[in-house]
């Protein structure tokens, strides 16, 4: 029995910031103070506030420490755990803007206050490598309830009534999907967990798998029971090594306890799970390509119908659900559809996890009820843009999504509203852009990604995205024209109409949505040949203000093109416009702000 637990984040973000060393130094410090028998250090999943990582929580006091370095461990042990004095200066805190007081209470900290954690309920609370901790917090009770007290149809009806929709992006009603498969004849059926999270900047699924893998296994087992499957695959990218390792541990532990395998809960129901590693191709998140990849074929989509529910993996009925969707299932069975559907909006029930990134103070993982506004997420939870920069747009939905501006910030988030506003829910990546971001450059970033990830099966996507990227490059290099913009827009619509799979059809979205909201910015690029955000280097002009120039020669010495002339101490320096390669070295070296960029 331990009187205190130290929970050390072992998610990918914190691990990259040396949380393994922090974990080790806590153990060493506890040994030194002879507290190993009283205090236990536990590795746990993501706390969400990755910006402040590595995060360490001490229970029962519920005190959270931020940015913990290995050398801080001894101090926390000596002060907090030995003498009982929390080390306030290392504590995670928030400023109360009204009273100017510092808040240490974790439930009152803005980042957590607005959140409602259903999917992430155990992340940062349990040791994901210990099935007993999951069971202690009520784990596998829902599976037990489903197998022993409910018929498969009752399970499907419950999920239907909950209003849960697919969290992978498209938002198809989960219960309906299960019903399709359940209605298929035959007894060889499959279920698949889609863990091929591929959107740039998205890490919701990874965090769930790393922090609470059993929630996903339990959800899969319930789904398998509902649709009549006996084998499930988790398709996960090999780029998620921590998640894969924890899944393997979790599957083995569940098998040992008979929660996977034959005759689960004495109900006669058999179910097992296998992991299939993906090589990290974006298109394999598309369900038909994913199925091909599981079968050992090249990961390319095929036309639907037949839908996977009719002929999926090995040509048999298959249901595919995303990690986050599955992590909701046990809670729905446990607490009931009425509870779940009481959260959220008319058309979108429950919560959604978002990965907040980009120009935002509190980078991290947040879970909010559907219907929360973008403003609440970006400003109240995320803390707004850092360095007092002005908010410009937020990109949601990954490469298939789009940008939303100030005008849409008060839109309550749900599937329909985001689509109506010109973006989409997507899997939950949310990248905040500020005044320093050029929207053409942002579109180019996504288009590079898509052109790279196009599987090549259909021409519109394979060739079309490449052409779009070339057009964007022309604009960025100052060779664009208004006609080019029109041509680009037309090509976008053609790709939308003709590409084979969902990824190809949505591939032009980054351009279309930025064009829609920021056409002026594109026009400035092609007409005036200027980049208002000063990002596109070829469109910038560097000059030296002779009144500010101190004739120190630093700029001339930093210039790799010998484009700057002047005489030290005698004659102000000048940049030769045709020799200048616009590398920005002089701008960065000048200590007097004499180099101007516009």
């Amino acid at each position: 029995m331990y009187r205190a637990n130290i929970l050390c984040c072992a998610g990918t973000g914190c691990t990259a910031n040396r949380s393994q060393e922090v974990f080790d130094s806590f153990n060493n410090a506890l040994k030194k103070y002879e507290l190993e028998a009283e205090v236990k250090v536990i590795k746990t999943g993501c706390f969400g506030l990755c910006q402040k990582g590595p995060i360490v929580a001490v229970y029962p006091d519920r005190i959270f420490y931020a940015h913990v370095k290995p050398e801080d461990a001894e101090r926390i042990v000596a002060e907090h755990l030995y003498k009982g004095r929390p080390v306030t200066e290392l504590q995670l805190s928030d400023e109360d803007l009204a009273t100017n007081e510092t808040i240490y209470d974790i439930d009152k900290i803005k980042f957590y206050e607005k959140q409602e954690r259903i999917v992430l309920r155990n992340c940062g609370k349990i040791n994901p490598e210990d099935i007993q901790e999951y069971i202690a917090l009520g784990g596998y009770a829902a599976l037990g309830k489903a197998l022993t007290q409910m018929t498969p149809q009752e399970v499907i009806d419950e999920v239907k009534a909950s209003g849960l929709r697919g969290r992978g992006g498209a938002g198809f009603p989960t219960g309906k999907k299960w019903q399709f498969e359940a209605d298929q004849p035959g007894d060889e059926k499959y279920v698949i967990c889609n863990a091929d999270e591929g959107d740039p900047g998205a890490f919701m699924d990874r965090s769930v798998l790393e922090g609470d893998p059993h929630a996903v296994l339990e959800g899969m087992a319930i789904m398998a029971y509902a649709v009549g499957a006996h084998l499930g695959y988790i398709y996960i990218r090999a780029e998620y090594p921590i998640a894969v390792a924890r899944l393997n541990i979790a599957i083995n532990q569940a098998r040992e306890l008979g929660l996977l395998g034959k005759d689960i809960f004495g109900s006669g129901f058999d179910f097992d799970i296998e992991i299939r590693l993906g090589a990290g191709a974006f298109v394999c998140g598309e369900e038909t390509a994913l199925i091909a990849s599981i079968e050992g074929k090249r990961g390319m989509p095929y036309p639907k119908p037949p839908f996977p529910a009719v002929a999926g993996v090995w040509g048999k009925p298959t249901s595919i659900n995303n990690v986050e969707t599955l992590a909701n299932i046990a809670q729905i069975i446990d607490k009931g559809a009425a509870w779940y559907s009481s959260i959220g909006t008319e058309t979108s029930k429950g919560t959604k996890v978002f990965a907040l990134g980009g120009k935002i103070k509190n980078t991290g993982l947040v879970e909010v009820p559907m219907g929360t506004t973008l403003r609440e997420i970006i400003y109240e939870i995320g803390g707004g843009c850092p360095n007092n920069k002005e908010f410009k747009a937020v990109q949601t939905g990954g490469p298939s999504g789009g940008c939303l501006t100030e005008l849409e910030l008060d839109t309550p988030i749900d599937y329909e509203n985001l689509t109506a506003a010109g973006s989409m829910m997507g899997s939950g990546g949310m990248i905040v852009l500020d005044e320093d971001n050029c929207m053409v450059d942002v579109a180019k970033f996504y288009m590079e990604f898509i052109a790279d990830e196009s599987c090549g099966k259909c021409t519109p996507c394979r060739v079309g995205t490449r052409r779009l990227l070339e057009m964007l490059n022309k604009i960025i290099e100052g060779e664009g024209s208004l006609e080019l913009l029109d041509e680009m827009e037309q090509l976008c619509h053609e790709i939308q109409d003709t590409a084979l799979c969902g990824l190809g059809q949505t591939a032009p979205n980054p351009i279309l949505s930025t064009l829609h909201h920021f056409r002026k910015e594109y026009e400035t690029h092609v007409v005036e040949k200027k980049c208002p955000a000063k990002v596109c280097k070829k469109l910038l002009d560097y000059t030296i203000d002779p009144d500010l120039c101190k004739m120190c020669s630093l700029c001339a010495r930093s210039c790799p093109a010998e484009a700057i002339n002047g005489v030290p101490g005698k004659e102000p320096y000048r940049i030769h416009p045709t020799k200048c390669i616009k590398c920005g070295n002089c701008y960065n070296t000048c200590r007097f702000g004499a180099v101007k960029m516009e």
Partner: protein, 121 residues
């Protein structure tokens, strides 16, 4: 594991692992663990409290705090109820601590003779 009953039993066993992280206990037992407390013997008191609370499954968390300011009365153990009421026990030793758990946490009666109020009379 072959039934819901098996799962329930396993859960009860497993709860011991995590219950220190579950906040909703009726009582919070706080041991003064500053230099004065430790010198006066607070550590064995704390250890015994933790063992005993775990063994008998008392509805409380055991935690520690710094100097309460009455060093002369150390080791000091304070018991906080859910309503915010708190009792200060002084000159504790492991056996007295066990009695506080038994009577105060277990039965809800304050052990008057150990309290700071009794000493002041």
């Amino acid at each position: 594991m072959k039934s819901l009953e098996d799962l329930r039993r396993m859960r009860e066993e497993a709860l011991k692992k995590v219950n220190v992280r579950e906040g909703d206990k009726d009582y919070r037992v706080v041991v003064g663990m500053a230099t004065c407390g430790i010198a006066a013997g607070a550590r064995p008191v704390l250890n015994r409290l933790v063992e005993e609370a775990a063994a008998k499954d008392y509805n409380c968390t055991i935690t520690q705090t710094g100097c309460i300011g009455m060093c002369v009365y150390e080791p000091i153990v304070e018991v906080y109820g859910k309503d915010g009421a708190h009792t200060t026990y002084i000159h504790m030793d492991p056996d007295k601590a066990v009695r506080v758990l038994e009577e105060h946490i277990g039965q809800g009666h304050v052990v008057e003779e150990y309290t700071v109020n009794a000493a002041r009379k």
